[in-house]
């Protein structure tokens, strides 16, 4: 036990030292706010691993325009109150050329306001709140908005799987609600009848009542939003009660932990996400391998999103040719890059435009199922 406490202290000190070690005048600094303590620490750690991996990969290839990238990492505890001062600190004291959020929506939204006011580019790696990119011209998002993914879920269930009577289980937070909005928006177009909707809180792990009710309704399919730590128990309890209809989730499930928690019950569960494990894309392949080597556990969506955001920034930096913030902003806006989460380009608002990957659990691993490729359906709002 003593060793287990001491070791992280030393490791922590070493990682601090390593940041300091790279620090030199010509490094290009990128701010990175991420929850490393508190309730969101698990996602924060994956995002940080992904981002660090991207920086290592870029630097191993000679960096950008002859300079090395350097991450300036701050723990924001996923709290808007903490993120706002950290954003200012990154901009005014660390003088970062751009920021990346590896955090949740509230913290990202608060920091985005400040980056935008100071005309410093800011990329949200996986926060889904629709208002983030509306903070201003300098704010971009490399992951799907909740609404977009919800629409993809509707197409997957209604058209690709041909299931019409659908029950929704909605996570009660900004993530779940925006997914549900997107799903309901397009459900009618694919002939889906939503027979019921249940809401639950992010703290819930017990779904006995919802499961009993759904069993009595006997839907054709279940569209359930959540994270792996809520969806794992949920799917397990659904299957244990003998509900064997298809369960469709989204990127919140996208972790090996989901399969670990749900066990055999996870087989056949489908999700809409941005990471394709069976991709032939070399960037994705090298990410998947590099991530599990670095982190010690299999790649997940959050890690891939952190990785993608840094790669987009590195690509824009090299195309801009300098670190002037206005030209960097324009370079990001004109991105057309093959990253670990697919082909990235942005619309006028700074929202990513890319295909939605459908993954399915087979033999205890995530695998490719299909791709939802429909530029009209998946178009994010442009203002």
């Amino acid at each position: 036990m003593f060793k287990k406490i001491i070791f992280p202290i030393i490791a922590g000190a070493m990682s601090l030292a390593s940041y300091a070690g790279i620090a030199s005048a010509e490094n290009i600094k990128i701010g990175f706010n991420v929850p490393l303590t508190g309730f969101a620490a698990a996602d924060g750690q994956s995002a940080l691993h992904g981002a660090e991996l991207a920086v290592e990969q870029v630097n191993a290839n000679g960096g950008v325009n002859g300079s090395m990238l350097e991450l300036v990492v701050y723990d924001d505890q996923a709290s808007p109150k903490e993120a706002a001062p950290l954003a200012i600190k990154m901009i005014t004291q660390d003088e970062v050329v751009a920021g990346v959020s590896g955090s949740y929506s509230g913290a990202t939204r608060a920091a985005a306001t400040i980056f935008s006011e100071n005309s410093v580019p800011y990329i949200s790696a996986y926060a889904i709140h629709p208002d983030i990119t509306r903070a201003g011209d300098y704010v971009f998002r490399t992951s799907f908005m909740g609404e977009v993914q919800g629409r993809a879920g509707a197409k997957l269930i209604g058209e690709m799987l041909g299931k019409k009577r659908v029950t929704m289980i909605t996570l009660n937070n900004d993530f779940g609600i925006s997914l549900a909005n997107g799903f309901k928006d397009k459900a009618g177009d694919f002939g889906i009848e939503i027979i019921s909707e249940y809401e639950y809180s992010i703290k819930d792990r017990e779904f006995g009542a919802i499961v009993s009710k759904i069993k009595s309704e006997n839907p054709d399919a279940i569209y359930a939003s959540g994270y792996f730590f809520t969806a794992g128990p949920l799917v397990r309890q659904l299957r244990a009660a003998g509900i064997n209809q298809p369960v469709v989730g989204q990127e919140g499930y996208d972790s090996q932990k989901f399969i670990e928690i749900a066990g055999d019950a996870s087989e056949g569960v489908m999700i809409t996400t941005s990471l394709d494990r069976d991709s032939s894309n070399p960037v994705t392949q090298s990410f998947i391998e590099g991530f599990s080597n670095k982190a010690g556990y299999p790649a997940d969506m959050v890690g891939a999103s952190g990785h993608t955001a840094i790669l987009v920034l590195a690509d824009a930096l090299s195309r801009a040719g300098n670190t002037d913030k206005a030209s960097l902003r324009d370079a990001i806006a004109s991105t057309n890059l093959e990253a670990s989460t697919g082909q990235i380009s942005f619309n006028a608002l700074g929202e990513v435009q890319k295909d939605v990957q459908v993954q399915v659990v087979r033999d205890g691993n995530w695998h490719h199922h299909s791709v939802v490729s429909d530029a009209v359906l998946l178009a994010p709002p442009a203002e």
Binding site: G12, D75, K81, A84, P85, L86, I88, G106, H129, I177
Partner: protein, 289 residues
């Protein structure tokens, strides 16, 4: 400078918020585990109004009035339940508040309210406004404490029943403490909303209530200066602790424990003991305020 300014504003808002609870818990002895709800009520009221085009300064009064009105209701509840029952009732109020906000689309629901306009004069303006209001509130607190009201509050905090027997209208004074305290929290909320410029139900949860209560206790219940210092220190701690990164919350938790273990009467009590040591002849009649 911008960073120092935003940290300082955060600190001042925390002081104002902690003092507003100090009035209820410190002066009047009524424990509240749900004070963040009133911060939230003020924040939502003010944010809705400035988004509708009001200037920030004009929203202070409405934010205080709405928070104070709901404060009266909770205060009325405090007349019925006492001690630990009151603590848990106020905790319930805080959960009820976030629960209701979550389901109100008009108030942004789960999405919260984004795009709250900046204060007049930007960060400098907000800092100056916060500074003035915090000083004003502390002045009122000092006045209340030194006036005859302060003695009434003290007697209620010490023993409600005896105070009642002595002919003090305990109910009226408790309600007064709740109104003033929750209105102060509403004011802090208005400032908070324009500092962070994004508010959501999770910004005003149970954790926030616990944090502010610990500021009051660490400061020393009822001690104006102790609470001011404790709120200042505890509020900037996450920022200064960035160096120790992974151990930030661990240190914070242990600090709360050690503060209680070795300084149970808080910073205020420490100062008092220190003064007594230096002037033993002036030792006050009562050891604890």
């Amino acid at each position: 400078m911008a960073y120092e300014m935003i940290v300082l504003t955060n600190m001042l808002i925390a002081i104002l918020f902690a003092q507003s609870l100090n009035l209820i818990t410190g002066f009047c002895g009524q424990v509240s585990l749900g004070h963040a709800a009133f911060l939230g009520i003020g924040a939502y009221t003010s944010a809705m109004l400035t988004k509708a085009g009001w200037p920030l300064a004009a929203t202070f009064i409405p934010a205080m009035v709405v928070a104070g009105m709901i404060g009266v209701i909770v205060g009325a509840a405090s007349l019925r339940v006492r001690h630990d029952f009151l603590a848990i009732t106020t905790m319930g109020v805080s959960f009820l508040f976030t629960g209701i906000i979550r389901k109100q689309d008009m108030l942004g629901g789960e999405m919260g309210i984004a795009g709250i306009p900046a204060a007049y004069g930007g960060r400098v303006g907000l800092l100056l406004m916060t500074l003035c209001l915090t000083i004003l509130f502390i002045t009122i607190m000092i006045y209340v404490k030194r006036s005859w009201m302060g003695f009434v509050f003290e007697s209620i905090a010490e023993d409600e029943d005896t105070a009642g027997v002595l002919g003090i209208d305990v109910r009226r004074f408790k309600l007064f403490a709740f109104v003033l305290g929750t209105a102060g929290a509403g004011l802090a909320g208005a400032l908070y909303a324009h500092q962070v410029r994004f508010i959501g139900p999770d910004s005003f949860g149970f954790v926030e209530s616990v944090t502010v209560l610990s500021m009051v206790i660490v400061g020393g219940i009822g001690s104006i200066w102790g609470v001011t210092i404790a709120a200042a220190l505890l509020s900037v701690m996450p920022q200064f602790f960035q160096v120790i990164d992974d151990y930030k919350l661990l240190v914070y938790g242990l600090l709360l424990f050690f503060a209680m273990r070795f300084l149970p009467d808080g910073l205020g009590g420490l100062a008092k003991r220190f003064r007594q040591k230096r002037n033993p002849d002036r030792s006050p009649e009562r050891s604890q305020a």
